[in-house]
């Protein structure tokens, strides 16, 4: 696969002509050289995707989505009414206008209250296990939906901020492509001519294949897959999706001039060109001390960007195609500690979903009066993941074969949350 980096379309067309010549030496290595695709990237009907808003550190959902005003665990924030059924925190006035598109799961109950274990569990639906690495949400969705995107030239799993987890046994080809919220990607500029680049790729492909054929195992094979993907994106005009500064100023302002705002805007641009899974990070929720002051500065940034994203997807008629998911690795203790903070707490917390095939505007589940227990059916990471996958039409009967031959149920065998699916 031979691409030539140029910002001018004429060069690009000129380059297309070279493909015929390319076929002459493609030979047994043809699979290395995928066909140059048309760059038409209209959002197709039924082209589903997921945007995960990842709240790294474990957000205090008792202060955000499931308030307990007046009680000893409640904290100072007041609930406000929304455009949907549930009430939410007063510091989310913009989201309050969008809650008819979203639903809150107030009965999340998990067991992993350590950052890295919680991050792994919430991203994969499996608890960490030394003998197998499970694929994360993004890798699973990318793997399942990639075949439906023949025109996609950029990676099917993008992580804005990088706080995601890996592809596990699905292999490096489904690893998150990590960018910062400015969409800057290093070393994209090919520093040679078209013909020399093509010659290098030809020779490189021969050497790669030779080494792989010597039975050197998966590391050698994976390397070639990544070469192929990298080579493809080098010349893709779809890379424009990463450039949020190409967006109208009014739109950028609506999302907010923050890293998370730019990330959410980029997510919309990426799902628009067909990326099946985008994860956007907002970190800094690990509020062991001074929880409420920290939230007061943090929530407005989140509120503006998240509400703008929901509104923008709605305006563009994309909301039915895009599943939105908001969560962190766990919630925080109902008990307020000596430093006015809240510590890690997995037993009762909230996640938020919206768009796609979800029932919207409702709250699912209920915690007790001080927020320490879930009073209704508790839901796990597996259940939430199953619900999200079903909402975009991925079959829960899907089985993966882990590298060791062990069959593995998608979403850890979780069962979808019925109230959320129409």
């Amino acid at each position: 696969m031979l691409h030539f980096k140029s910002r001018r379309d004429t060069s690009r067309r000129h380059f297309l002509k070279h493909l015929a010549a390319g076929a002459a030496w493609a030979g047994p290595a043809a699979h290395f050289l995928s066909t140059l695709q048309s760059q038409a990237a209209e959002l197709k009907k039924n082209q589903k995707s997921v945007i995960l808003l990842w709240m790294g550190g474990g957000p205090s959902t008792i202060d955000i989505w499931d308030l307990k005003p007046g009680g000893i665990t409640g904290g100072p924030f007041n609930p406000i009414g929304t455009s949907g059924d549930p009430q939410i925190c007063e510091h989310l006035p913009k989201m309050a206008q969008q809650m008819h598109h979203m639903s809150i799961v107030r009965s999340m109950s998990t067991r992993e209250a350590d950052h890295s274990r919680g991050r792994y569990y919430m991203h994969t639906g499996f608890v960490p296990n030394p003998s197998v690495e499970h694929p994360s949400y993004g890798a699973v969705v990318a793997h399942q939906l990639e075949q439906t995107r023949p025109n996609l030239e950029i990676p099917p799993f993008v992580s804005v901020g990088g706080n995601s987890t890996g592809p596990g046994f699905l292999g490096l080809a489904y690893a998150p492509f990590i960018v910062d919220s400015n969409g800057r990607i290093r070393d994209l500029e090919m520093k040679t001519t078209e013909s020399r680049w093509r010659s290098r790729m030809q020779f490189l492909n021969q050497l790669e294949s030779q080494f792989i054929s010597q039975n050197r195992g998966p590391a050698a094979t994976e390397h070639r897959k990544i070469l192929e993907k990298t080579n493809r994106l080098l010349t893709s005009t779809q890379m424009e999706a990463f450039r949020v500064d190409g967006e109208a100023q009014s739109v950028r302002e609506a999302y907010g001039n923050t890293a998370f705002g730019r990330g959410c805007l980029m997510a919309r641009r990426l799902v628009e060109v067909g990326v099946p899974f985008v994860e956007v990070d907002l970190g800094g929720w690990d509020t062991h001390s001074d929880n409420f002051n920290q939230l007061e500065t943090k929530l407005p940034e989140m509120d503006q960007a998240m509400a703008a994203l929901v509104a923008d997807l709605t305006d563009r008629g994309m909301l039915d195609q895009v599943a939105l998911l908001w969560m962190g690795e766990f919630g925080r203790t109902p008990r307020i500690n000596g430093n006015t903070g809240r510590d890690h707490w997995a037993r009762s917390w909230s996640a938020v979903v919206g768009g796609a095939g979800f029932q919207r505007g409702i709250a699912v589940g209920k915690t007790n009066s001080d927020g320490t227990e879930v009073e209704t059916t508790p839901y796990s990471s597996e259940d939430l993941m199953a619900t999200v996958l079903q909402s975009i039409g991925i079959s829960l009967d899907t089985r993966f074969t882990a590298a060791n031959g062990r069959p593995m149920k998608i979403a850890g065998g979780g069962r979808p949350i019925k109230e959320l699916l129409a």
Binding site: G56, G57, R111, E112, A113, D114, H115, S116, R117, P130, V132, P155, G162, N163, F169, L172, A175, F177, I178, I185, R186, D187, L188, M190, K191, R196, S199, R200, Q202, F203, L204, Q206, L207, E208, F211, I212, R216, G217, P218, A219, A220, E222, H223, R224, I226, L227, K229, T230, L233, L234, G283, D286, H288, N337, N339, H344, A403, N404, G405, R406
Partner: protein
């Protein structure tokens, strides 16, 4: 800032405190006994014994190992693993031309000798800096860690091959200041080892979460036991209980990382020091810490060290340093622990083979039993008997039969495929990505070929800058981080188009490539061989030269053709993998 103040003592409690000050030690098992056994068999060649044990495993699993690696492959991997870079052309040539029977051992000796002291020291100091303070340690905003300080300490330790148990003691028990002295500043009381704990401790030991990172990292790194999740609950799989986490944590409560400022609001350095610990209830005679069980019940914990087979050492409950110095006791308990040698051996094995005896290598315990317990135990005993000599351990591993095997899967060991989740049987060498540092240093070597990389502050700076682009820190209380130098797209982009690769293919005179191209003595075929040897430690084949000719026949000049060959070689799996 103030020096730690002793607390006022209650005279009534004084006698009680003294009465329990004596340390009660109950030891059921210790490596010292095993060490004696090892010494009595010291006449035996450890490499031969290791090979025999390994062969038994192969037989039991009904597989035969792959054939031996070529001399060039073995030379390349031992350079990469021991000193962190590929060999230069001269170094490779010296090894290939050596006709002695013990050429392997002679090469390992050279790499461990003064001749390579600088490269060896730098490699291991870098590896351990990343282990001890993470890849981003010291670059956090207003960090308490001084990365250079950490390196200075480690370089000193590796340069003199300081016994590992001593190094661990010095790291856990370090006192002093974090910033290395410069020409203009003779930092008082500098001890680079304090940087291990500098960021993992703070200045308020009564904070309920105080020192949880110090607890988790000390256990994981030195004892191979991951205890972080027991901070909140009993471990779901192994025998670690929540109380043990906090009993371990209690050892750090007399220690504070005091921030020192020299004008301005940024920390200039920190001082790690001890002060009396009075506990949350203000009674230093019984200086407890509290933690909450999941059911909400509050529990107290005092320093207790739990070793192999449940052997426990209980310290006095006093928080007075005069009665007991908790951290000094911890350092000595870790030093004597049976976990210490096996955790290190497992770490080293994973370094040289890509997989440890457990996956991950630093998560050992009853939930994750070792695949080769006999080899782990034997090497641990030998390691203790050697006086915790890291170079000795390096000799045994690199000279073993298993380390010398080809990375090609043979006809009779297909089952040995740990990337497919199988238990590693070490019947072949597992190819793996070079670490970012190895790649950087290897590119320098491959492109300046015969001029081995001199270490200058300037070079270190460039290297650090290059490495930083791949690190992502998560900003949680555990300072989690990861590297994107993991074989994915950003890494390939960097090798396709980055500055480093652009510099590597410069063909001006003085550069490696320029000198190869301009050499009037060499035929084109010899020039190709030079490039292949520099990148892969092997010559080019006729087929490869034909490929290159065909690909680059239309280049505007021979120079451009060689540049493209060179660019291509540096982008192959054969270059990027340690195989």
């Amino acid at each position: 800032m103030n020096a730690p103040l002793p607390l006022t003592r209650c005279p009534l409690h004084r006698t009680v405190t003294l009465a329990v000050a004596a340390i009660s030690i109950i030891v059921f098992h210790s490596w010292s006994a095993s060490a004696d056994t090892a010494r009595s068999t010291a006449h035996q060649d450890p490499v031969a014994h290791l090979d025999a044990l390994m062969r038994t495993h192969w037989e039991e699993n009904e597989i035969s190992p792959s054939s031996a690696a070529t001399e060039g492959e073995w030379c390349r991997r031992v350079f990469l693993d021991v000193i962190g870079r590929i060999p230069t052309l001269d170094e490779l040539d010296t090894y290939l031309k050596d006709n002695s029977d013990d050429k392997k051992s002679r090469l390992v000796e050279r790499l461990l000798s003064d001749q390579y002291s600088e490269a060896y020291t730098r490699n291991w100091a870098n590896i351990w800096t990343n282990v001890l303070i993470g890849r981003s340690g010291g670059s956090e905003r207003n960090s308490r860690t001084n990365r250079r300080g950490m390196q200075v300490y480690l370089e000193e330790a590796f340069r003199e091959n300081r016994p590992y148990d001593q190094v661990v003691t010095e790291l856990i028990n370090a006192r002093g200041t974090s910033r290395p002295p410069t020409a203009s500043d003779s930092a008082r009381d500098f001890n680079g080892a304090v940087n291990f704990l500098a960021m993992k401790l703070g200045n308020n030991p009564n904070d309920p979460e105080y020192g949880t990172q110090a607890t988790a990292k000390t256990s994981q790194i030195f004892l191979g036991r991951r205890v972080q999740c027991t901070q909140c609950h009993d471990h779901p799989f192994n025998r670690w209980k929540q109380n043990q986490f906090w009993e371990f944590n209690a050892f750090f409560r007399q220690t504070v990382a005091l921030r020192r400022f020299e004008g301005g609001r940024n920390i200039s350095f920190i001082q790690l020091a001890e002060q009396d610990f009075q506990g949350p209830t203000g009674e230093p005679e019984e200086a407890e810490i509290f933690y909450d069980r999941r059911n909400g019940i509050r529990m107290a914990a005092y320093p207790v060290f739990t070793d192999r087979d449940g052997a426990q050492t209980k310290l006095s409950r006093s928080g007075f340093i005069e009665d007991i110095d908790r951290r000094a006791q911890l350092a000595s308990l870790v030093r004597q622990s049976g976990y210490l040698p096996e955790a290190l051996v497992n770490r080293y094995w994973a370094h040289f083979f890509g997989h440890g005896f457990t996956q991950p290598f630093d998560d050992m315990g009853p939930h994750n039993l070792p695949s080769h317990p006999d080899i782990l135990q034997y090497l641990s005993e030998q390691f203790v008997a050697s006086g915790y000599d890291l170079k000795e351990l390096t000799r045994w591993i690199t000279l073993s039969e298993a380390y010398g095997l080809s990375s090609r899967l043979g006809a009779h060991n297909e089952a040995d495929n740990p990337t497919l989740g199988e238990t590693p049987l070490f019947s072949r060498f597992y190819p793996r990505q070079m670490r970012a540092e190895q790649l950087y240093d290897s590119l320098l070597i491959a492109t300046r070929a015969d001029k081995t990389g001199q270490t200058t502050a300037d070079q270190e700076g460039k290297r650090a800058e290059w490495l930083r682009q791949f690190v992502i820190a998560f900003g949680t209380d555990e300072n989690d981080e990861k590297s994107t130098f993991n074989g994915t797209i950003p890494q390939v982009l960097s090798l396709f188009n980055g500055d480093l690769i652009q510099q590597s293919i410069v063909a001006e005179s003085g550069s490696f490539l320029g000198e190869v191209i301009r050499d009037g003595e060499m035929t084109p075929r010899e020039k190709m061989d030079r490039l292949f040897l520099a990148a892969f430690s092997r010559k080019s084949s006729a087929k490869e030269r034909r490929w290159a000719n065909r690909a680059f026949a239309n280049n505007e000049s021979a120079t451009a053709a060689f540049q493209d060959v060179w660019w291509t070689l540096l982008n192959t799996n054969e270059f990027i993998l340690n195989h």
